[in-house]
Symmetry: C2
Subunit: 327 residues, 2 copies
């Protein structure tokens, strides 16, 4: 089985690659080849079971996309995207990668027409306030960012191409990923991760919003699990509504902090400094707080068990099971 991952050098792409190399099997079929695409060279070493073909370039480049599909990969995981903040700041770049790139990729698969399974990373950014609570599975698409609009366009094309039988596609609307490993970034959502990640390393973290803020989160491990589950899911059970809101954990910041205290103790929790930021607070106030993701649940997608479980997954995956701050 040949798997293509676009955006394979990103956080989810790297973790999915690692998982497929460690357990090279999907639905009983061996994973014999990974084609790994990104704008920088994806770092992964082949194994005796699985060869690796790295392809570097821009997803909005037609020749590159032809190259990606030339060998007709059985499974395509389309993660490549310009992220929300950048798509808002750079109009042309966002539309080129997220809309044109997605359409080029889907069209190339359509033209090859060989029964590919296509998994598309969408986002809860396809929704925009005001919201009911919780947001039902049949809530309309009202993105309030260009990124969200571009992701929603991809969802519509995916569903239409799947309906027409060009490929077998599933769109996965990912929750905000937490705890993101790595350095703090300037994304408005960054604090959801940094208030856990930095204290676990014994470092201070800034909390820019009131601790009453509630949001919809999933661990990187859960996100990788969504794609692995979708890779072999019987799409007959999904019907024509191919874009699914993935299950998440709805927690307040106060609940995040209580979980951190429970897992890592008071010393860790004391490293969080409240420093209200009106801009970030205003942005985050427009974000979804909780979904009724029962369609995805019925189809077997599994959320993290709790926010404590999310912290434990982070400590397991990034600190080998024990965080520096833990006694």
């Amino acid at each position: 089985m040949h798997v293509l991952i676009t955006g394979a050098a990103g956080m989810i792409g790297r973790k999915l690659t690692e998982m497929l190399l460690a357990e090279p099997e999907l639905g009983g079929r061996p994973v014999t080849k990974l084609t790994l695409h990104d704008v920088v060279t994806p770092q992964a070493a082949p194994t005796p079971e699985t060869s690796i073909l790295p392809i570097v370039g821009d997803i909005s480049d037609k020749v590159l996309v032809e190259h990606l599909i030339a060998e007709k990969p059985d499974l395509i995981v389309h993660l490549a995207a310009v992220v929300s903040g950048e798509a808002e700041a750079d109009f042309a770049k966002g539309y080129a990668a997220n809309l044109d790139g997605t359409r080029l990729l889907f069209d190339e698969i359509r033209k090859a027409h060989y029964g590919a399974r296509v998994l598309y990373a969408s986002s809860i950014a396809v929704f925009g306030a005001p919201f009911p609570d919780p947001i039902p599975d049949d809530f309309h698409l009202t993105p309030l960012t260009s990124y969200g609009a571009q992701k929603a366009v991809g969802e519509l094309i995916l569903a239409d191409y799947a309906r027409r039988g060009f490929f077998d596609g599933i769109g996965l609307r990912l929750p905000t990923i937490c705890v993101r490993p790595g350095a703090p970034n300037k994304a408005a959502s960054g604090f959801f991760s940094s208030i856990i990640r930095e204290p676990l390393k014994g470092e201070e973290a800034i909390l820019p919003v009131p601790d009453t803020v509630r949001h919809w989160l999933a661990s990187p491990r859960a996100a990788v699990g969504f794609f692995l589950h979708a890779a072999t899911l019987a799409t007959h059970d999904i019907g024509p509504r191919r874009n699914l809101t993935m299950p998440g954990v709805s927690v307040t910041v106060a609940e995040q902090l209580a979980a951190l205290r429970a897992v890592a103790g008071d010393k860790a929790a004391a490293l969080i400094k409240a420093q209200p930021d009106e801009t970030i607070s205003r942005i985050v106030a427009g974000w979804p707080q909780a979904f009724d993701a029962s369609r995805a649940g019925d189809l077997g997608f599994v959320a993290d068990e709790s926010f404590e479980a999310i912290i434990h997954a982070h400590i397991d995956d990034e600190h080998g099971g024990k965080a520096p701050i833990q006694d």
Copy 2:
């Protein structure tokens, strides 16, 4: 004031053109010029108040679209589209006109960035069964045709471009138009019009579905009224959700026939022959029956008063106030 109408040779385009030439004023400003685009030459004669520039060509042709926007029309009514049945039968043609054409047009207006008002003809085809009854204003977009998917993509781009301030856009999701003037066509929805239009001329009409079928209808006159209202509506009141389900009349076929009998008598009603068609019945069973279009209602869009009013409008507009069958 300069108005551009794309798809101006179509039924709505012709009626809108006639109306603007007869009453050449919008929001207190004189309509001094109409640019009329279509794939065939739109037929309309200039008046002392209003000049006419016909432009013939394909909306997916970049040079043509540049030409359309070169003079920066104040109001753009984007009606040009490949219709539902054809977009389903001819994949490439539908995506080229309905998605690429719409995006090209919106991008050209974006680049000129001069505060244009853009009205976009969307459709209830952006929705797909199963539905709640009535379908609320916040129901998700689940098109079950390529036409519906293409219209929904246009809605998303329109809303994003309006949010970014590139132009001032409103999307109008039109009900099924009834009574369509002219010859019967092969559209699955054709019978909604033909069971009124043909009997009023003293001709037989085929009813291919049970008379319990309910659907969401607006007269051509109401549809033109929607665009005229949207042309000068204060968009500040709309907010970021720029795509509006237009109000319609929800009636069963039995109610349509009772209205025909009330308006034109038993002789007209007797001209309808039931001839069940399973294919058409199955297609129509997946169509929306009724909407809660209260957002549009709150914004001042007005539906036909009743199905009888729709028949009277047809007799006024197409038969000069008296149908051939009437005594």
